[in-house]
């Protein structure tokens, strides 16, 4: 049973050996910091992707010919209008534009300022910026902006349509936070310009979204659409969300599994270090035992000290990881997730983690830490006081 004076005394003994524990603290801090950082990035990206998916309609229909994605037209969409339970049918014009100078692809999404678009963020954007409705404006994400500026395209840019025509467009950065979620390599432009860039004729589209207010009807509708278009790829919102979870679980899980290998090495190191510090601490513990400290007092003392090191490493790593990811944007580390494509650079991550993530890191970090020192602590605690008398 600890007394009021126990904890200050425990920290006093810890402080006098601070240099000896500093290495353990630093190693543990680095491990937990990396773990937290990766977890924060992963949950943030997952959160953003889920937010996008939540804002999109319930069913996406894509046409496939010979296993390759193909465009759709009014003829393809015509039967869909007759489906009961479908509130809205929103065709999409989107694709990739190759920026040859940088050797990268930008995602182009054609937006209609006067009709519903497939994403709520875009709908809000078109409502707010209706005065900017123009065929020669490129609304660009930060990754695209950075890429263009690198080649001195600050205000204007010349694009080439599929027919080889050059078009001069004005660059307008997308400042809204919501577009960061959609992707930084994004270009929003008028739907007719998008068609020209993506070689789509009028009444041709990339794919189509169906808005279904009653979730219970979705499986029926999917089955119905399959009979209408047997080769089409139909993705429901639920499937998309599940895929996002699975993707991030898989990525995160592989990382965590590899991390655990690192952690096991740390545990072995810590075990050996604690065991070998036995010699230098033996006299001190022997003195405490000799003056009347119980074995349980010594065990409690040592566990408190180790717990303090572990918890201070944990919390300082948590704070540093938070600042590193959410304030500094996780430079270098984010490349693990987004690759080296500069246009996919993410300047800000959305803080979105819960108690669950904190508990996971606690279990994977602090619990093995304490488990590693249990045996060495016990070995130290049962020293015969007569050892001191020799």
């Amino acid at each position: 049973m600890t007394t009021k004076a126990f904890y200050p005394y425990a920290f006093l003994l810890l402080r006098k050996d601070a240099s000896r524990h500093a290495v353990t603290f630093l190693l543990f801090f680095v491990i937990v910091f990396l773990l937290f950082s990766v977890l924060f990035i992963s949950t943030s990206l997952q959160h953003d992707q889920l937010a996008i998916a939540q804002n999109e309609p319930e069913i996406l229909v894509e046409n496939y010919k010979g296993g390759k994605k193909s465009d759709i037209d009014d003829f393809f969409m015509q039967p869909l209008y007759g489906l009961k339970g479908v509130e809205k049918i929103i065709p999409r014009v989107n694709g990739k534009y190759y920026f040859e100078q940088a050797g990268v692809y930008f995602t182009v999404i054609g937006i209609d300022f006067f009709a519903p678009n497939f994403n709520e963020y875009i709908n809000q954007f078109t409502k707010q910026k209706i005065n900017l409705a123009s065929k020669d404006l490129f609304f660009v994400g930060s990754g695209v902006k950075k890429s263009l500026e690198h080649f001195y395209y600050k205000n204007n840019f010349t694009v080439y349509t599929q027919k080889g025509e050059a078009k001069r467009v004005k660059i307008v950065p997308l400042e809204d936070k919501e577009f960061r979620l959609l992707g930084n390599n994004l270009i929003l432009c008028d739907i007719s310009l998008a068609r020209e860039l993506l070689a789509l004729e009028t009444f041709e589209y990339s794919d189509v979204y169906l808005s279904v207010p009653n979730e219970a009807e979705i499986p029926n509708l999917v089955a119905h659409i399959r009979t209408l278009h047997p080769t089409a790829k139909i993705t429901t919102k639920e499937e998309k969300i599940s895929k996002i979870h699975t993707l991030y679980d898989t990525k995160g899980g592989i990382f965590l599994s590899l991390f655990i290998v690192v952690l096991l090495s740390f545990m072995i190191l810590l075990y050996q270090k604690t065991l070998f510090s036995f010699a230098s601490e033996k006299k001190e513990i022997g003195i405490l035992r000799a003056v009347g400290w119980k074995i349980t007092d010594i065990i409690t003392l040592k566990i408190i000290q180790n717990l303090f090191i572990a918890l201070s490493g944990y919390f300082s790593a948590l704070l540093c990881a938070y600042l590193f990811v959410f304030k500094l944007g996780a430079p270098l580390l984010q490349n693990i997730f987004v690759g080296s494509d500069k246009t996919l650079f993410i300047p800000h991550f959305t803080p979105s983690f819960g108690v669950g993530e904190l508990v996971i890191v606690f279990l994977v970090g602090v619990v093995p830490f304490v488990a590693s020192v249990l045996f060495p602590v016990w070995k130290l605690s049962v020293i015969d006081p007569t050892e001191v008398m020799k």
Binding site: Y9, V291, V388
Partner: protein, 223 residues
């Protein structure tokens, strides 16, 4: 106060390197008595002190302190006994070098559920008895030999134990400090404390401190 009956201590019993440290020890010490244990190195003096002080356990026999057989107490009760009933003074002082004088002296009070006020009161009383002050914040490793000794005495006295055990307490002290130690022990004896001292130093037998001298040889009491 102390009754030791048929005490044996065998190290590595039943093994090739079995060693009988003590055999058939019987002796008593009354309250307020000072007993000197004499004998060459390896005679069993330190072993006997550690058994009486509850620092180790005998192989056979009993050690009764104020009627309680401490030989078969579990560790927590034995530790509590050491904490409250025994004050140990070691040959090499056994202070924690990187702690201050004050923290060393207070070490035995940390596990006791007493108020800070009581703790402070005990500290001042112990320093008064050991006749040392104004060294509170000095690290133990920076104290002189005599100061270390007095720090060790203060630590031994802080919980007002009824039994003081000293193992070769003056082996590392000069003559002046030795005499000073003896005077301190006389003071404690007057307060009714029972004192056991293991020593080679003849000066203890010559002083008026000792009531009895027990001589040990090869783990037996010879006189």
């Amino acid at each position: 106060m102390i009754t030791v009956t048929n005490l044996d201590k065998v190290h590595n019993a039943g093994q090739k390197n079995e060693f009988i440290a003590l055999s058939g020890i019987n002796f008593t010490a009354a309250n307020g008595e000072c007993v000197i244990l004499k004998g060459v190195s390896g005679s069993g003096k330190s072993t006997l002190l550690s058994l009486v002080g509850g620092m180790s356990k005998p192989t056979h026999g009993s050690v009764r302190i104020e009627g309680h057989n401490i030989a078969k107490l579990p560790d927590d009760k034995l530790s509590h006994f050491r904490l409250t009933t025994v004050g140990f003074i070691f040959q090499s002082f056994n202070l924690i070098d990187d702690l201050s004088f004050r923290d060393n002296v207070l070490t035995p009070t940390i596990c006791l559920n007493i108020s800070d006020k009581e703790r402070e009161k005990r500290f001042l009383k112990a320093c008064e008895l050991a006749n040392i002050s104004s060294k509170e914040s000095t690290l133990a490793k920076d104290l002189s030999g005599g100061e270390k000794q007095r720090c060790a005495i203060a630590r031994a006295l802080i919980n007002n134990p009824s039994l003081i055990i000293a193992d070769e307490p003056t082996a590392n002290l000069d003559k002046d400090n030795t005499l000073y130690f003896i005077e301190t022990m006389k003071k404690l004896k007057k307060l009714g404390k029972t004192i056991l001292i293991a020593t080679h130093d003849e000066i203890f037998e010559q002083s008026t401190l000792a009531d009895r001298v027990i001589k040990l040889q090869y783990g037996h009491i010879v006189s």
